[in-house]
C-alpha cells in the first residue's frame, strides 16, 4: 500500500466525515442523507444493522461535519460530483457487494454511482427517490419552476445573511438528552450559499434517463403522503428500473428514517434476506 494512496484515502474519509461501525466482517451497508441535513438523519436506523453489517455513514461535502474547504462549486453543480465522492468513499474503504441506502436526492446519487461502477454495489435501497421534481410534458414530478424558485426564496429568507453559517437555534433536544447542543448544531448547520446550490442541483436535475441503466438489485421505498416525492414518482422509478421491487410504507411524510425507523429497517432487512 503506497503512502500516497493511503493519504488520498484518509483525505476522502475526512472530507466526507465518514464513520464506520458494526461488524467489520459483515456485508457493508452505506447510508446516504438527502438535502437539508447530515448523516444524523440515520441515527435511529443505522444502529439496527450493526450486529451483522459493516455500517458506513457519511456527510455530503457541504453538509454536516464534512470539509467545507473541499466544496468546489463546479464539481458539485450536478449530482455526478456527489456520485464521484460516493465512489471514492467505496474505493477508500474497498467495499464490494455494498448495500446502498439513499434517502431523497441521495437515492439518485446512488443510481448514478452504481451506473458508473456497478462492481461496488450489491443492492440499492432508494428511500423517497425522485429522478426529476419538475413537471414535464408527459411526466408529473410534482413541482413547477415557480415552486422551486419559491423554495430557493424560502432558503434565502431563512438564511438572510444574519450570519455566514446558519445553525438552528438549539436548546438541546429533550427527547435525545445524549446529544449536546453543540453536536446537534453541527449536524444541521449549513452554509447558505452551499444550501442554495445544493437545492438547485437537487430540485432542478433531470436523471430520468439514468434509471433504465441500473443493473443492481433495487428496492424502492415509497412513503405515504410524501409531498416531495409523490407516490406516482416512486412508481415511475420502480417501472424504469427493471426488476426493482416497490414497497409502499405506512410511514407518512418524506423522512421515514426519522418518523418510522422500525418500519424502514424492517423493509430493508426483508429485501436483503
Amino acid at each position: 500500500m503506497s503512502t500516497i494512496a493511503s493519504a488520498a484515502r484518509s483525505q476522502v474519509l475526512r472530507r466526507n466525515n465518514v464513520t464506520v461501525t458494526g461488524d467489520p466482517a459483515g456485508r457493508p451497508i452505506v447510508f446516504a442523507h438527502g438535502f437539508g441535513c447530515s448523516q444524523e438523519v440515520w441515527h435511529a436506523v443505522a444502529p439496527r444493522f450493526e450486529s451483522d453489517h459493516r455500517v458506513v455513514l457519511f456527510d455530503a461535502v457541504g453538509s454536516g461535519a464534512s470539509d467545507l474547504g473541499a466544496y468546489d462549486p463546479a464539481r458539485y453543480d450536478s449530482l455526478h460530483g456527489y456520485a464521484d465522492d460516493l465512489l471514492e468513499i467505496l474505493d477508500a474503504l474497498d467495499l464490494h457487494d455494498a448495500v446502498f441506502v439513499g434517502h431523497s436526492v441521495a437515492a439518485m446519487v446512488g443510481v448514478l454511482a452504481s451506473n458508473v461502477d456497478p462492481s461496488r454495489f450489491g443492492a440499492l435501497v432508494l428511500v423517497g427517490p425522485s429522478p426529476r421534481y419538475l413537471d414535464d410534458d408527459d411526466y408529473t414530478g410534482g413541482f413547477s419552476h415557480a415552486d422551486i424558485e419559491g423554495l430557493l426564496d424560502a432558503l434565502d429568507a431563512n438564511y438572510l445573511g444574519w450570519s455566514e453559517t446558519m445553525a438552528p437555534l438549539i436548546m438541546g433536544n429533550p427527547a435525545r438528552p445524549e446529544l449536546g447542543s453543540d453536536l446537534t448544531e453541527s449536524f444541521c448547520s449549513v452554509d447558505p450559499r452551499i444550501a442554495s446550490q445544493f437545492a438547485r442541483v437537487t430540485f432542478l436535475s433531470d436523471n430520468r434517463r439514468d434509471l433504465e441503466q441500473v443493473r443492481t438489485p433495487t428496492l424502492v421505498l415509497q412513503c405515504s403522503e410524501d409531498v416531495i416525492a409523490p407516490p406516482a414518482v416512486g412508481r415511475y422509478v420502480h417501472e424504469q428500473i427493471s426488476g426493482s421491487r416497490f414497497v409502499q410504507l405506512a410511514a407518512t411524510g418524506h423522512c421515514p428514517n426519522l418518523s418510522a425507523p422500525e418500519e424502514l429497517a424492517a423493509e430493508i432487512t426483508a429485501f436483503l434476506r
Binding site: 453543480d77 450536478s78 458508473v116 422551486i148 429568507a157 431563512n158 427527547a175 432542478l204 416531495i228
Partner: protein, 483 residues
Amino acid sequence: MTISSSPPPTRSGEDELHESYVELFHDAPCGYLTTTADGVITRVNRTLATWTGLGEDELLGTAFVDLLTTAGQLFYESRFATVLRLSGEVREVALSMRCADLRDLPVLINALIVPAHGERAEEIRIAVFDATERQDYERQLLVARRQAEASEARVRVLQDASSAFGLAMSVQELGEALITAARTGLLAASAAVLLPGERDGRDLIVDGVQMDPLISAGLMDLAMQAIEGDEVVTVASLDQAATIRPDLDVALQEQRLAALSIAPLRGDSGAHGVVVCFFGRDQVFDDDTRDIHAALARQASQVLRRVRLQEELAHRALHDQLTGLANRKLLQVRLDEALAGARRDARPLSIVFIDLDGFKAVNDALGHRVGDEVLVEVAERLRGVARASDPVARYGGDEFVIVCENADAEAAGVIAERFRHEVGRPLTSVPPSYSVAASVGVATWTPDDTADDPEPERLIRLADEAMYASKRGGRDRVTSVTV
C-alpha cells in the same frame, strides 16, 4: 382526610380561571396549534382559523404541512421537519401559508416537540406569527442583495479571468486559463477551446471531456453556428440536444453531460474558434449567463491576438525565416538536450552535416532568387525524409545539420543516404542542366563510461570534417566517423 388552612377554590372559580385560559389561547395575538408526532393538527386556536379563513373543524385532523404553499412544503419537509426532529425545537422559520381565499400568508414559526409523558403521546406545539410586513421588507432586501451579489460575482469572474489571461504566454496557456474561468465562473463541468487552423496540432485545448464522440455527433455544426452568427449557441438539456442532432444526446449522456454552450472567439480578421462549456445537469441560459459567457470569450479573443504575436516572435527568433527550419540557436538547444538524453539513456547520438554541391553555380548563374527557391525546396525534402523527432537546422548558406537521437553509425548512415538521395533528385526550381547534390558527413557518438562527453561544437565539427572528406572524395557521397 386533609385539613386545609385556606378554603379550596370554588367550582365556579375554577371554571372562570379555565375559561380565561381558554380565551387566552383562542384569542392570542398569534396562531397556536398542536399536532401529533406525524404533524396532524389536534388543537388549534381561533386566531389561526381567522387568519387562514379555514374553520377550526376543517383544520383539526389536517396535516400541518398541507396548510403551506408548495414552496413552503418543500422547505418544511426537506429542512424544517428534519431539524425539528433532530433538535427538538426550531425558531423563527419563515414560511408561507395558503389561505382559504388562495392568498399567501407569510409567517414566522416556532415549533417545539413535547415528548410523550405518561398517558400523553408526543406532540408538537407550533406558534405562528403573521410576518406580512416583515416579509415585504425582507423581500426587498433579498432582491437587492441578490442583484448586488450577481453583479459582484459577474465583475469578479471577469476580473479574475482578465488577470489569468494576462499571465498567459502561449495559446496553450490562454486556452487553459479560459477553461479554468469557464469552470469557476460558469460552473462548467468541463470545457474545451477549439482553434481550427492553429498550427502544430494545437487546435484543441481540452479538460475533462472526450471531444471526438461529440464532434462525430455534430458539435462542429453548432460551433460553426456560433462563429457564423457571432452568438452564444446553447443546448439546455438532453431532450433539446436530441432535437438538434439525433446522436448528440446519447454522446453527451455517455460522458455524464446534460447541456452545453458555445461562444465564438473572434479576432480582427474574423473568427479564431470557439470555447465550449459542458454542464452536468440541465441549464437555464438566461441573458446574464449568456452575457458572461460572451464577455469571457471576448476577453480571451483580445489576449489570443497578443499571445499569437508573441509566439510568432518566439518562433522567428529560433527559426530560419527563408526555409522555416531551426536556426543555429535552436540547433544548439536541441543538441544540448540530445546529448544529455544520450548520456542519460546510454544511447548513441549522430549528427548529419550536409553541404550542397552545385549550389554556388545556380546562385551565380540564375540569381539569388532562384538560389533561395533551391534552398526552400531542399529544406522541404530534408524535412520530408527526416525522422519526425529529428530536428533539421539550416546551419549556414547552403549547409544543413540534422540531429539524430538514438541512431548508431549504421542507422545514421541509412538516414544520411536517404538525405543524399533526396537532394540528388531533379529540382523543380532549376532547369535540368543544373545539378545539385549533397556532400554528407556523419559523426556518431556512443556514450561510454570511460570518456567525457564530447562538446556539442566538437560533434558538429567532426560531422563537418566528414562532410569535407565527402567533398574531397568526389562529392555526392556520405562519409561517417565515430567520436
